[in-house]
């Protein structure tokens, strides 16, 4: 590993002022993407600012209509949280399918969404559920947050504090993943806002996207919907070593009925 400086601030304010002072700093939370990237020199910050001790970034809280998940909450904490299991079943299931157990013990929701990997799982849940990302300076809705591949709306120094999800017991996540990395080849998150569907797809394009044709349809309509006729020509579906665009499109069309069934199923 190359040489870098390390800082461990105990407040948000200190983290941000450190960030602004340094040449090419990066915030470190779980480090499950950052450390392996640094080992391969895919990323080479001069300074790491380890935010693991900042209390206000921790914890899962329930309000009347929402669940607020602190940025430092690990994937396993989300997967095992009884509050999340009960109120947003799909989110808890999604978190339990991220990477492997050791990664889920360290990797955090804040780190994952800030990295904005186009094949990461969480972006699908944020978009489908219309979550709000709260940072040290503002609130950003999920549809504005994810800008492009590895690119978010965040300023370089900005820190995500929490993600606020509306309560949606009827929600689900399905994915076909790379067997080696568990990253999504196609991942889809479905939920209903009253009687309107909201389905988003990750892993299949440069960033997470809504399935416009299906969104806003009622459960009854979707039960008999002919997904094979779905027009995906407007979306630039990826081709890579894992799957061709044609194969990904086929996965989307064939996995949708199963997703809808699972969303509507009562647990």
């Amino acid at each position: 590993m190359y040489k870098f400086r390390y800082h461990k601030p105990s407040s948000l304010k200190e983290s941000i002022s450190l960030f602004k002072e340094k040449e090419f700093p990066k915030y470190l939370s779980g480090g499950m993407t950052l450390i392996p990237s640094m080992k391969q020199l895919l990323s080479s910050p001069t300074d790491l600012i380890d935010i693991q001790n900042i209390e206000e970034l921790k914890g899962i809280h329930k309000t009347e209509n929402t669940i607020i998940v602190g940025a430092l909450t690990t994937h396993n904490e989300v997967a095992n949280s009884s509050i999340i299991k009960k109120n947003i079943r799909g989110l808890s299931y999604l978190a339990s399918k991220i990477a492997d157990n050791a990664v889920r013990n360290c990797g955090t929701i804040g780190g994952s969404i800030c990295n904005a990997d186009p094949a990461a799982d969480y972006p699908a849940a944020l978009l489908s559920l219309n979550a709000i990302v709260t940072t040290n300076i503002r609130e950003i809705s999920a549809k504005d947050f994810f800008v492009d591949m590895f690119e978010t709306k965040l300023e370089s120094y900005e820190i995500v504090k929490s993600v606020t999800f509306p309560i949606k017991p009827k929600s689900y996540y399905l994915k076909i993943s790379s067997q080696a990395s568990k990253y999504a080849i196609v991942g889809m998150f479905g939920s209903f806002d009253k009687d309107k569907a909201s389905i988003s797809i990750t892993g299949a394009a440069n960033k997470v996207f809504y399935l416009q044709d299906v969104n806003n349809q009622s459960p009854d309509k979707l039960k008999d919907y002919d997904f094979q006729k779905l027009d995906l020509s407007e979306i630039n579906i990826n081709s890579d070593i894992h799957a061709s665009a044609e194969y990904r499109s086929s996965i989307i069309k064939n996995m949708l009925p199963k997703l809808i069934n699972n969303v509507l199923k009562d647990e």
Binding site: M1, Y2, K3, F4, R5, Y6, K8, L28, G31, M32, I35, P36, K39, Q40, L48, D50, Q52, N76, A99, D100, N101, A102, V103, N105, C106, A180, S181, K182
Partner: protein
């Protein structure tokens, strides 16, 4: 640049004071500085799980974390799990069920098996899902799954 920083890590139930460079990976601290060679480096790219250790009682791949991130935490390696003449239950289970061949990946599997038990995992499918993140290139996993099933049933 990058002066050394003083930290304390509880390693195998002993507080160890360390003065380290931030760039030192946990696995290199364990193997090179502390001579705990039971934790293996298989891939060095976060995939194989041979370097698995317990951090605050939970599995972590020690090649993917900086030693400095472990300040004030507890780390347990395979050296704390049992002794050659006094094997722990999980080691007995692997021995009795032929859960290893070359043995290179075994320390990692043992750590994962320990967390398996803490998480109340019971069915074969759950064990197999939980083993995602540990590679074995000899056994074909059959006897590893058998060993862990056996271990989970031990009191």
């Amino acid at each position: 640049m990058s002066d050394k920083i003083s930290i304390v890590i509880n390693i195998n139930n002993k507080n160890v004071k360390l003065n380290i460079e931030p760039r030192l990976l946990l696995v290199d601290l364990l193997r090179n500085s502390l001579e705990l060679k039971g934790t293996h480096i298989g891939c060095d790219t976060s995939q194989c799980g041979s370097c698995m250790v317990l951090m605050n009682e939970k599995c972590v791949k020690s090649c993917s974390i900086l030693a400095i991130q472990c300040d004030k935490k507890s780390i347990k390696t395979i050296e704390s799990i049992g002794k050659e003449n006094n094997l722990s239950n999980v080691q007995k289970a692997f021995k009795e069920n032929h859960g290893l061949q070359c043995g290179f990946c075994t320390p990692g599997f043992i750590m994962t098996a320990i967390e398996c038990k803490k998480n109340n995992i019971s069915t074969e499918k759950e064990i197999r899902d939980f083993l995602d993140g540990n590679f074995c290139r000899c056994t074909g996993y059959q006897n590893i799954v058998k060993s862990i099933s056996y271990f989970l049933k031990m009191s």
